[in-house]
Subunit: 188 residues, 3 copies
Amino acid sequence: MTDITRILVLGGCRSGKSRFAKQTADNMAMDKKIYLATCVPTDREMKTRVKRHQDDRGPDWATIEEPIRIHETIDRACTQAKVILVDCLTLWISNLLFQGKDEAGIMSAVDLLEDALNRATCPVVLVSNEVGYGIVPENSLARQFRDMAGLVNQRVARAVDKVIVSMAGIPVQIKPESGNGQGLGKEI
Amino acid sequence: MTDITRILVLGGCRSGKSRFAKQTADNMAMDKKIYLATCVPTDREMKTRVKRHQDDRGPDWATIEEPIRIHETIDRACTQAKVILVDCLTLWISNLLFQGKDEAGIMSAVDLLEDALNRATCPVVLVSNEVGYGIVPENSLARQFRDMAGLVNQRVARAVDKVIVSMAGIPVQIKPESGNGQGLGKEI
Amino acid sequence: MTDITRILVLGGCRSGKSRFAKQTADNMAMDKKIYLATCVPTDREMKTRVKRHQDDRGPDWATIEEPIRIHETIDRACTQAKVILVDCLTLWISNLLFQGKDEAGIMSAVDLLEDALNRATCPVVLVSNEVGYGIVPENSLARQFRDMAGLVNQRVARAVDKVIVSMAGIPVQIKPESGNGQGLGKEI
């Protein structure tokens, strides 16, 4: 572990997680900020959302779209960036599944991501959705996706220095644990 | 901002959020408590639930049913109430959607609500569901509802003085941040 | 209340809750650990999962499968165990529903569980899923299940000494409240 900060921002749908992650990155650097988008927009709803997010970020951000090999993009981006924002891991998992990857394949991809995070020479902020707090989905693919999302979140949460859960736009830090001595956010 | 307390109580289904909100209001006033119900019961399941909640509240509570224009009800109720409990914002959003409101229309309604909260002359406790921590719903209306619910929760969370998340009946305060200096519940 | 610790570990799907619960139990005793499985595997996916969990636990654990009458199993297990791990309450609720129990029947079952927890002579760690943070399910049985899961989690959370929510593998203690004086995890 270097002293480079790696931060995971978790949250539900429309919980403000991307906005918080972006502001966190903006607080870390004035320029040379790279937005690593895992989203490959395929319908109008997604395209509108992607475009709005790009406009929101402003001109001091460069965008790289990479749906699958994000570890390589992180490696390369580190040579020129002051901070990298990966948004988001949930779509990355979805992309891996659509590519035909099974659990083992996805865990291998997380190994590569973890290595890239460990050797990163600039701060990396990663955004991910929490999708496992509803009832069990009826269709098997949705269950598999939900399982993978949960496992990947656990792996990445363990690998990073800081984990924030965004709830209704309010960032709640769960790692490292707060200093109250009662195990809040204490990792095992 | 006045020194009138505005509190948002968030939680999942059957998380104890309404009970906690009601007890919070009960701790604030002995009488002149107004329950602003956004629910217009349309089937037996809902009617039973509404009736049970009314019985639970007791005689020191008056109930006003208002599915849409809750900002006006808050304005009027303030002239006579010691505390107002709005239960819940999720059904209010649902009502706005069924009325044909789009995102812009719902955000305008939140503007009006925010104004009413800012000029409220008695404490207001608002209840809302967290619905965005499951997998993406397959049907488009459900996705829209989920998006709106998340956005409204963010707006209201920013507008109020205190945000509590109820988890398995245990209230967890996420705003204002706790005093541990580590950013728990720190708003950006 | 005795000084025997009862702990509820809550979490979403693949949130690391079972692993955390198991490690908590492992920290409490070196041997004589009983795993009370409420799961009766009925398809290959479940059987694989059950088998993997058994292998993970190792030889210092004994497994008892009991889908319904877990209060009796806790009573009996206490005479020989140093710690009991109940995994999980969500499947137990599901089993009770499939047996034809309604809300009253399930609440009676929780009464019996609560009594067993109160007279337990060894620590008991219970695992349960949080399933109420997604949108309202379309089918009525899923809604009923979700309601029951939420109510049971509230009841058990009130009965135990400690409640931990596992988020992305990070345990966050919400009961007893942390010592920051701001009501985090303060029970009402």
